[in-house]
Subunit: 402 residues, 2 copies
């Protein structure tokens, strides 16, 4: 199996995809920043999507989910500055009007447009103004992935885009993506958006399955079912311009595509974590030896979300006692005397007790900008990997108010 190569171009790297952006003034008082992005496929495309499982869903989530179910779409319209969440019937109308304006500008049907919003909750969109801006967008379309990535940013400090190329049956197939971050360490309460494009020939059912699997290996490593924002959305469009033999699940070709897609989503997910507000360290947290993968995930989440563990990481303190404690209440079944914890492979805990490694050796790891913590529960073969960060005073100050 040939490995996918990283290429430039983001969502406009695949054949037949264009992107553009424009300033509208969705959120008043931010005149310098473009705030509406458009991604467009020049030819018909199939669509797939995964959406927040939060019971409080923003209007665009409901609208896009319905359009994805229809299975075909050619455009994604997205704004930053306003989440269009908790906005009632009027918010639903506004989300539909965003699709309608885009469809009109591009000569599509409304169902062929997917819509996303991110930003403040509980404020109505300035939809009339936005319709005007959207009408001007087609003229701004081009290979402008980076501009689109920038227009969907909220508290992100850098635009996030990536693309890969792989060979499938002698044809070059490309996959590109952009994302906007949670602006926080765990996107459970901010909005995470990601848009993926590909020129692969693939059916909508298989695209949906590939996307769902890929999200499970990437964005869901930094978040969790039932713990997402009102707006979290990952969308994928495939327009078939690569001309490969249609990808079918279970074949070697599909595996190549899946691996390439996983690389795109993992790359974007890691960028989101690294761009978390106030983040000073990035931790690869592996839980191994759990009874099941589900229990490994429970343990990994408890550790990654523990305020005290995160504060210790901030301080470069290899405080394994807090990790033991979090594992103990995580819900994963454990046997205390079998737990092992290591920092970049240096043992801190063996058999549930201090390993005897000098504190200075553990500190040397915990003070790095990036390191790996392995928690081996020693009771099975379930494992789970989470990408996470520390919790800093900068984060708290950033989020303490407007």
């Amino acid at each position: 199996m040939t490995e996918a190569l990283t290429i430039k171009g983001g969502v406009t790297a695949p054949k037949g995809f264009l992107a553009g952006s424009i300033y509208c003034g969705v959120k008043e008082g931010n005149a310098s920043k473009e705030d509406i992005a458009l991604i467009f496929s020049e030819s018909p495309a199939v669509a797939a999507g995964t959406f927040t499982t939060n019971q409080v869903k923003a209007a665009p989530v409901l609208v896009s989910a319905a359009h994805v179910r229809a299975g075909r779409a050619r455009a994604i319209i997205a704004n930053s500055g306003n989440a269009n969440a908790c906005t009632g019937r009027k918010g639903m109308d506004a989300a539909r009007r965003m699709c309608g304006a885009t469809a009109k500008a591009l000569g599509l049907s409304m169902r062929e447009v997917l819509v996303c919003s991110t930003g403040r909750i509980g404020v109505q969109l300035p939809i009339a103004k936005m319709e005007g801006a959207i009408a001007d967008l087609p003229a701004r379309l081009g290979k402008h992935s980076a501009k689109a990535a920038k227009a969907i940013m909220t508290s992100d400090s850098f635009p996030k885009e990536t693309a890969v190329e792989c060979e499938i049956g002698g044809k070059a197939v490309r996959i590109g993506g952009i994302a906007k971050g949670a602006g926080m360490i765990d996107p459970n309460m901010a909005t995470m958006l990601s848009f993926i494009t590909t020129d692969a020939v693939i059916g909508k059912g298989d695209l949906q399955k590939a996307l769902r699997a890929s999200v499970g290996q990437s964005f869901n490593r930094i978040t969790v079912d039932g713990d997402m924002s009102t707006n979290d959305t990952v969308l994928a469009l495939a327009n078939g311009q690569a001309g490969n033999t249609r990808l079918i699940r279970g074949t070697a070709e599909f595996a190549v595509f899946q691996a390439a897609l996983d690389r795109v989503t993992a790359g974007l997910a890691r960028m989101i974590v690294k761009d978390g507000e106030g983040v000073s360290r990035f931790i690869d947290l592996h839980v191994t030896g759990a009874r099941t993968e589900r229990e490994a995930r429970l343990a990994a989440r408890a550790v990654a979300n523990s305020t005290l563990v995160k504060c210790a990481w901030y301080g470069g303190d290899p405080n394994w006692g807090r990790i033991m404690d979090a594992v103990g209440y995580s819900g994963a079944r454990i046997r205390q005397e079998r737990i092992g914890i290591a920092y970049n492979g240096v043992p801190a805990v063996e058999g549930g007790m201090p390993s005897g490694t000098p504190a200075s050796r553990l500190q040397a790891v915990a003070r790095k900008k990036e390191f790996t913590i392995t928690v081996d529960l020693g009771v099975g073969s379930g494992s789970f990997l989470i990408w996470t960060t520390d919790l800093t005073s900068k984060y708290v100050e950033f989020n303490m108010g407007e």
Copy 2:
């Protein structure tokens, strides 16, 4: 039913109870602070206890739980500075030796002594030194509740004690308590200890039931099953010196006792929250209108533990969008369009949307040191109350390392 009166004296307010404390140097380099406390009943007493449900349990938790099961105890020995957790067989021996030394000093059997530890995880106790200090403790016993409360403090900023007196069948019955805080807003990862004494005549089974019910209304409002530290412990001793007719569950007299006990535990629990590290605001969070009490608790916990919600509280920002979001992923079944949120009764959200109350009115509440937030889910009659706090930069800095 006569209401209980608050009195002075803490755990030594009830007849026949003495307390004392001593400096031992459990944690090196803290020569000014007494670190071992003893509570002693001059006559036989029944015992009850509730313990952490964390699967990683400290040695003293295992030892005390076994002794409580026997049902009779006359002394509680507790140290600060070292949690005796993750210390293996040697730690179990040390916990037993603390009981043995106390029993010897007081002329009791080892089973009549309950033991607690709080402080650093993964360090062996200096048990030989402690045995020497414990031998000197009986000479220091007296009505010294406040000293005992101080000796069990770790990062607490003030000692926590309270006592009440109620009349039961013409007899004055007293209940006293001391506690040490989590040093944090939610004791899920620090150690919460509380010791309750009473001179009531009550059987061990009924004392256990009364204590469990009371903990559910107090300490479990600031924490949750499966989410406690390795050491959390609440112990109660009843020596019967009040001479009341034996309290039996289901009687009016028992209800008077239960209410008095609830007042003691609620008082201590609120002190623990207010003394959380870096805390600047105290929030009474009521979730009402849930389908069940369990779902109300899920929603209340999700809101109270949301990092973003807590940061907004720190900033005095009435950010109800973050509350909506937390409720949405809490696991409680909701209907977004039925949710109401109010700050000290001032509506922020009605029918899942902004109520239209001017921001300044909501801010005026959110900037107070103490306020109430009510989240009405509008789908049932389940409710739950949690006492919680904000998350501050001071907290993060305090916990970032040694």
